[in-house]
């Protein structure tokens, strides 16, 4: 009796933690399995079934190995900010954080004031190491963020509206007054893209090496920067456009219009993939979550809406913000920049419910033009009318980077090799689609509707015409009689018509069968004895 109780007690203590661990392991395992396995029960082909079972097992093993790796072997851990007692995280100021954190990280919190040269916009390389900033009045600078070293600084003497890095830190594109230009890291002008004209926004699709530009009238252009070919040139036709963002998950470009619609484009079609009416007023800012499922839009009517991109429905509306710029971090935090105040929202319950996380106001009068999270760091950089500021947002960056994807500690040799490998893996523009996991899958079987009578007639005539065009061989030695030639043509035409006639007869036979049943039921009872009965089988 006592023994049982003892064992019962110990059994109760051990499992819960193990269960928790295994549940956590399962969620990471699901992530690495990348979807459901194939339904092998429905297969009749035994050989294929055997081959697929082996493969599914292999996938399971590799997913397990990856999940274990993530659990045990990752070098860094993510950041966090926890409030104690009655403290609220959104009231915590940057200097408080800077005091608590180590020196290296506290160096990431600074303000750079450049009064004369206009509102600054910025862009990061995918590794987060280099930043390109451009002031409206023509000041362009490339900065190495790790060492805070100015790599190159120049004055292009023209209005600059946007700046974006190409695949590397060695190339960047600047949207200047009349045309966009591509520069080298040393500031040498490489290309002047005259075909684009005066553009207001630039975006670069990394996997496809496509530079997308939009001007304020809504003309969207795609250019392949490796070959210089213009891939697409589309009139969006929905009015004045102010914002453009690329969805990193599937390479689709979303453009925000002044009517409150957001349209999504791909380079191979002249019509947009999706047109959504998002806001009552013009769209002022647009941002995509890195997992490709959420989109945040802000309209002039001071509402931020979070959309689910699979169902195209609003998940959440956050009132009270007129954000001029939005950005999602790698971990899913949303930064909104309004006037001189930057608000960071986070989703902590896991149910896609964004709530206040942190906030920061810069000096009054400075207008925030662009907020951008630095990849792989817990840093948010804001470009404003008097320069740019960088603040610490714990928990926003991905702590563990992959050397083969984006390496903040890249050497020049690694950079050159990576450039070549990404060029070899350059995706053709046809791979841009709303659901990128469709590549390699089988199109679902669609039951073909019966062609209408006119269609069948048309097909029949087309077949007959095709046959009439065939040139018959000219025979010699008295075998080329006209009557024979005519007969041959007739035979060919009959042969071409034959399958259609057979089909018609089949259809007629079916109809007749149906009618026959109907007739039988309609006959009065006294006449039924005269109906020809089918021989009993």
């Amino acid at each position: 009796m006592g023994l049982e109780e003892e064992t019962g007690g110990s059994a109760k203590d051990v499992p819960p933690t193990e269960q928790e661990l295994s549940a956590e392991f399962d969620t990471t395992l699901q992530k690495y399995l990348r979807g459901e396995g194939a339904d092998l029960e429905a297969l009749k082909d035994k050989k294929l079934k055997g081959q697929l079972t082996v493969r599914e097992k292999l996938y399971g093993n590799s997913a397990k190995a990856a999940a274990k790796f993530e659990k045990w072997l990752m070098p860094s851990e993510g950041g966090y900010l926890e409030a104690e007692g009655i403290e609220k995280t959104w009231r915590i100021k940057q200097d408080q954080i800077t005091r608590e954190v180590d020196i290296l990280s506290s160096r990431n919190q600074y303000d750079i004031v450049l009064k004369d040269l206009g509102p600054y916009t910025l862009d990061f390389t995918p590794s987060g190491r280099y930043m390109a900033t451009a002031g409206r009045k023509g000041h362009v600078a490339i900065v190495d963020m790790k060492s805070m070293e100015l790599i190159r600084e120049m004055q292009v003497k023209e209005t600059v509206r946007d700046i974006v890095f190409l695949h590397n830190e060695t190339f960047f594109a600047v949207a200047q007054k009349k045309y966009p230009y591509i520069y080298n890291r040393d500031g040498i002008e490489l290309h002047c893209l005259k075909e684009h004209g005066a553009v207001s926004r630039l975006q670069f699709l990394k996997n496809h090496f496509l530079l997308a530009t939009v001007n304020k009238f809504g003309q969207l252009r795609y250019q392949d920067v490796t070959t210089g070919e213009m891939i697409g040139n589309f009139r969006t036709g929905l009015g004045r456009t102010e914002t453009m963002q690329v969805n990193p998950f599937n390479g689709v470009i979303a453009v925000g219009h002044s009517g409150g619609t957001v349209s999504m484009w791909k380079p191979t079609s002249a019509a947009p993939l999706v047109k959504m009416l998002c806001h009552h007023g013009p769209i002022s800012a647009l941002a995509f979550h890195p997992n490709g499922q959420l989109m945040a839009t802000c309209g002039r009517e001071k509402k931020i809406k979070i959309w689910d991109l699979r169902k195209f429905e609003v998940v959440q509306t956050i009132p009270g913000h007129h954000a001029k710029t939005l950005d999602f971090s790698q971990k899913g935090l949303l930064a909104a920049g309004t006037g001189s105040y930057a608000q960071v929202l986070g989703d902590f319950s896991g149910s896609q419910n964004y709530s206040r996380y942190m906030g920061h106001s810069i000096a009054k009068g400075y207008q925030i033009g662009k907020v951008s999270f630095r990849p792989y760091e817990d840093v948010l950089v804001m470009g404003h009318s008097m320069g740019w500021s960088s603040i610490l947002i714990p928990g926003s960056g991905e702590p563990n980077f992959d050397t083969w994807v984006a390496n903040p500690f890249e050497t020049s040799k690694q950079r050159r090799e990576k450039e070549i490998h990404t060029l070899l893996d350059k995706l053709p523009p046809e791979t841009i689609m709303l659901d990128p996991s469709k590549i390699g899958t089988v199109r679902p079987y669609k039951k073909r509707e019966k062609p209408t009578k006119e269609e069948m007639e048309a097909e029949k005539e087309a077949a007959v015409e095709a046959v009439k065009d065939i040139a018959l061989k000219k025979k010699t030695k008295g075998r080329n009689k006209t009557s024979k030639r005519v007969m041959k043509r007739k035979v060919l035409i009959d042969k071409a018509k034959k399958p259609f006639i057979e089909k018609e007869m089949q259809e007629a036979g079916k109809l007749a069968g149906k009618r026959k049943l109907g007739e039988e039921t309609e006959l009065p009872a006294s006449l039924k004895r005269f109906v020809r009965k089918k021989a009993a089988v």
Binding site: P75, E87, P290, F401, A406, L427, P436
Partner: protein, 451 residues
């Protein structure tokens, strides 16, 4: 408040000295890799194209014989050597690496019909149409020299029989060998008369093969279109399978010794399970003329066939169609093929007096590969196989240039088969359901099985 921010110190993430390797950090999270399927697809396409660029299967031809080559034998102990016998009675030992003759053995008066080496590699047995069977001791020959003159070696023993011999094969692990001609005779090395004789019917037995896993089991094929299985421990033959056309050659699967594949005159190869001969396990169809010879790879996963239509094809052991075809303008009717013992090369002997050396995998990089190269090749192969069903990749992977006569013959066969199929369908459609039964392809060519 509790706060922590990501901070990476440069020393942890970079190398200490310039002699060290660069440090690599991995994160396998799928969200760091958007559009990974599209990237894989592009890599598969590139891998397929590269494979075709590097596909150079022909290595060289070994010439020296002055008449068509009728048979070849592998030496189990010496990977680099191959024996070949020709229609004028000449037997040579070749060094494959230098593609030169090492030794020339005294042959036969007529054509050499069969060659085989004993399992320990010490004896070469040859038989020919001059009713003789020669045993030659091959351990005493010197290893290959590029400029060595052809040394003539005396035969150890010559046994004379009553009828012409058609084929010979040696037992695996034993010291018996079997010759066939008018009947199947089992010999011992030391006896000048056969130890045992099997006879079933009056037709010539044209090929024989011992089972690698079961040393007492052997399969023969005769010109009465039959395949017979014999067990040495029994005094009577075991089973016989009669087909519609003659089998030219048989090969046992070395990894699954109960299965054998028969190369047939009707342009297909039939794989059978020796325990269940009423139905073929697999029918391998791709040749357009009679299949003359067949040999399995030591891995047991594929086999090579040589056919009368001047091509050599490699088939997977369980697949109905060939994965590779090799042909050359100069190669005429292929009479014998062998897979090298390391599964990397194929040797074909043909009518034009040459032995040709081919790679088993046409785009394989031969020689010692660095581990990085190996991994890269494995990755390319895997990613290509994952997307090889998609149209662009499939078009490249499946493409093989065929010589015009073979292309035309294939089209013709296709038309004939389609026409027959259509007629069969129409007959079925116009007769009572169930009255016409189509026989499965695996059983169609078998007439009956006899105990």
């Amino acid at each position: 408040m509790k706060v922590k921010v990501i901070s990476r110190s440069t020393d942890e993430f970079t190398r200490e000295r310039s002699q060290d390797l660069q440090r690599v950090f991995r994160n396998f999270d799928p969200k760091l890799r958007p559009q990974e399927k599209a990237v894989e697809y592009v890599r598969a396409l590139n891998a397929a194209k590269l494979e075709k660029i590097f596909a150079r299967p022909f290595i060289g031809a070994m010439d020296g014989h002055i008449d068509a080559i009728s048979c070849m034998a592998k030496n189990p102990n010496f990977l680099k050597g191959i024996f070949s016998g020709s229609m004028d009675g000449d037997i040579r030992l070749w060094d494959i690496a230098s593609r030169k003759t090492v030794c020339q053995f005294p042959g036969h008066q007529g054509a050499v019909r069969g060659l085989t080496a004993s399992t320990d590699g010490s004896t070469l047995i040859s038989c020919g149409t001059d009713c003789t069977c020669c045993l030659i001791n091959v351990l005493s020959f010197p290893s290959c020299h590029a400029d060595c003159a052809c040394l003539h070696i005396q035969a150890n023993a010559v046994y004379v029989g009553k009828n012409a011999y058609w084929a010979v094969d040696h037992q695996w692990g034993g010291d018996l060998f079997a010759t066939t001609g008018a009947r199947v005779e089992i010999w011992n090395h030391n006896r000048s008369q056969p130890v045992n004789t099997f006879e079933w019917g009056t037709d010539t037995v044209i090929s024989v093969r011992f089972n690698p896993g079961e040393p007492n089991l052997l399969a023969t094929s005769a010109s009465d279109r039959s395949i017979a299985l014999y067990d040495l421990r029994m005094s009577t033959p075991a089973r016989k399978l009669i087909m519609q056309t003659r089998t030219n050659s048989i090969a046992w699967n070395p990894m699954e010794p109960l299965n054998f594949t028969a190369a047939n005159e009707d342009c297909s190869c039939y794989s059978y399970d020796a325990r269940k001969l009423d139905e073929a396990k697999c029918v391998h169809k791709d040749h357009v003329s009679a299949v003359m010879d067949i040999d399995y790879s030591p891995t047991g996963r594929e086999f090579v066939t040589g056919s009368y239509d001047r091509t050599v094809r490699i088939f997977p052991y369980n697949g109905g169609h060939s994965r590779e075809i090799y042909h050359t303008k100069r190669m005429q009717r292929v009479f014998c093929v062998k897979f090298s013992s390391d599964a990397s090369y194929i040797i074909s002997g043909s009518d034009d007096t040459n032995l040709r050396l081919w790679k088993a995998k046409a785009s394989e990089q031969m020689g010692v590969l660095l581990p990085r190269e190996q991994k890269k090749h494995e990755y390319q192969e895997a990613v290509k196989n994952r997307y090889k069903h998609l149209p662009e990749v499939k078009r490249i992977v499946r493409h093989r240039h065929l010589p015009r006569p073979i292309y035309k013959a294939k089209e013709l066969r296709r038309t004939v088969i389609d026409a027959e199929k259509k007629k069969e369908e129409r007959r079925k459609a116009h007769s009572t359901p169930g009255s016409i039964v189509t026989e499965s392809v695996r059983k169609r060519r078998i007439i009956r099985e006899v105990e």
